[in-house]
Symmetry: C2
Subunit: 301 residues, 2 copies
């Protein structure tokens, strides 16, 4: 998986500080996670071919997480998009978008589907042969979900070096990827393990923004490769974090530690802090492997 | 009046091309005209103290003219605004904004007023002692208004050089500005014209975007100091202009000429043209005094 941060700041967008949006590339998919105002300009800056986005996951209906969605939908229409797109988000999101399309007399010429969410336990939103996406219910001032992206790796990898001069047919490759042994035209059987390597290990990415310190999350994100957890505040503003149902960097680290994740990425920074390293410093006292999200930076998972 | 262009491009915002929004400063007012996505970032870049905006005029409900409005309203809330704000725009705008505030459980802590428009003849929207604002009904695919800003200049200007050593009281200044003669403490009367100069001439700015070629506009904008008229296309795409109810640069110039305006500013350029000078070239063949709008550029009227 490749994760590109389009925006990682909270509340109000500034000249060079964009609000929450992330792009996750997996085999065969380009997922958009949240969509703050100006996300479509950030997508252009990222140079990623964003017309490939077919699934958009919106965590909650605060503006810094979805005000850019209607613009993106409209732009796809103006660019002549034909591929369908599905929006997953809290109940109400369909009414907001369709009201604006109706009043502008600008229905999309591509299929726009909505899956409105209101469950308070994790649910599976999307699944194909390579990846699944589920909700991670969070604790915020309005109904909010994080999202868990889970790649699968059922197919064994062909060991091209081991193939040598063997002249295999397409169905042989298919059998090998499924873990089966194959029979050649001359009747010879070759065992699977001779020609294949184990599948890539599955990878898990958990996106958790916005939320108060929420221990119920821990079993759901156990051992994920990367946890993005909001850290709007530092401990010095713990009272504000509690009042606004956000987290401090330290609280994010406690969740990461208890969930035994491999790496923690912080974000959703309040504009009041000028030195982002303070977030790392605070979180690192609890959990070792901490990185900072940064607008337009990409990360491999 | 001082006009600052925040965005002057059509349809889809790009990295360095913002959609329609303008700021008009008059004595005592800072008016926002249209509010495409990302306008709040452009307002920050302009360095103008945008919390002074109290009246927002939205021409129509196409996204490139108002998708930034909900973000601006939310940002004012987060910045602790207390001054009231009034939005003037087509019927439906109130529902769009209030639905989003309701679902986010984020009602503004300042008074937010809406004046929804549906008239097809010009109407007065705002008036104070210095300026009036009226609609200019346009011809587009959805209900659309331009806006006419008309400064007043009822007060004569004090000729400070003529005052010499006269020791005037505040009420004397008041009388002079109103065109009255004054009586000094020693009983002497001084005629008004000795101590004053004529008022500044009133100024008129007409904002006309988006519209097809629309001759009914001409009497309404007769002789304005500056006409901003959309020029989405060049003549080579006249068919597209007709189909989408937009104007070509030449058509904008014909309106400017027939209305005998002092200066014509073009904008709302389609992204298909790389050389903006083509717009000036085309319009100049009809009307002499043509300028181009440009993101973050200011103009005196």
């Amino acid at each position: 998986m490749k994760l590109t941060i389009l925006g990682c700041h909270s509340a109000t967008p500034r000249e060079n500080k964009h609000t929450t949006s992330q792009l996750l590339e997996t085999k065969g998919n380009l997922f958009l996670i949240d969509c703050g105002e100006g996300t479509q300009m950030q997508l252009r800056r990222s140079k990623i071919k964003f017309s490939r986005i077919q699934h958009v996951f919106i965590s909650h209906l605060h503006g810094d997480h979805f005000y850019g969605l209607i613009g993106l939908i409209s732009t796809f229409r103006l660019l002549g998009r034909t591929a369908p797109m599905t929006i997953y988000g809290p109940k109400g999101i369909k009414e907001i978008i369709t009201l604006q399309l109706k009043l502008a007399k600008s229905w999309t010429n591509y299929e726009l589907h909505f899956r409105e969410l209101d469950a308070t336990i994790p649910e599976l939103l999307y699944e194909d042969e390579n990846v699944s996406v589920s909700t991670l219910p969070l604790d915020h001032r309005v109904y909010t979900n994080g999202f868990l992206f889970n790649t699968k790796s059922l197919k064994r990898k062909i060991n091209t070096e081991a193939l040598g001069t063997l002249n295999l047919k397409p169905f042989h490759y298919d059998q090998l990827q499924k873990g089966l042994s194959i029979e050649l035209e001359n009747g010879e059987t070759i065992e699977n393990h001779i020609l294949t390597l184990p599948p890539d290990p599955p990878k898990k990415y958990a996106f958790c923004s916005d939320t108060a310190f929420h221990e119920a999350l821990i079993p759901e994100i156990k051992g994920v490769d990367l946890l993005y957890h909001e850290a709007t505040f530092l401990e010095q503003h713990k009272d504000l974090a509690k009042k606004t149902k956000h987290s401090t960097a330290k609280e994010a680290a406690v969740i990461a530690k208890k969930a035994e994740v491999k790496q923690l990425m912080l974000g959703h920074y309040s504009n009041r802090y000028s030195d982002k390293n303070e977030f790392v410093k605070e979180a690192s006292s609890i959990f070792e492997n901490v990185i900072l999200s940064e607008d337009l930076k990409s990360f491999s998972i």
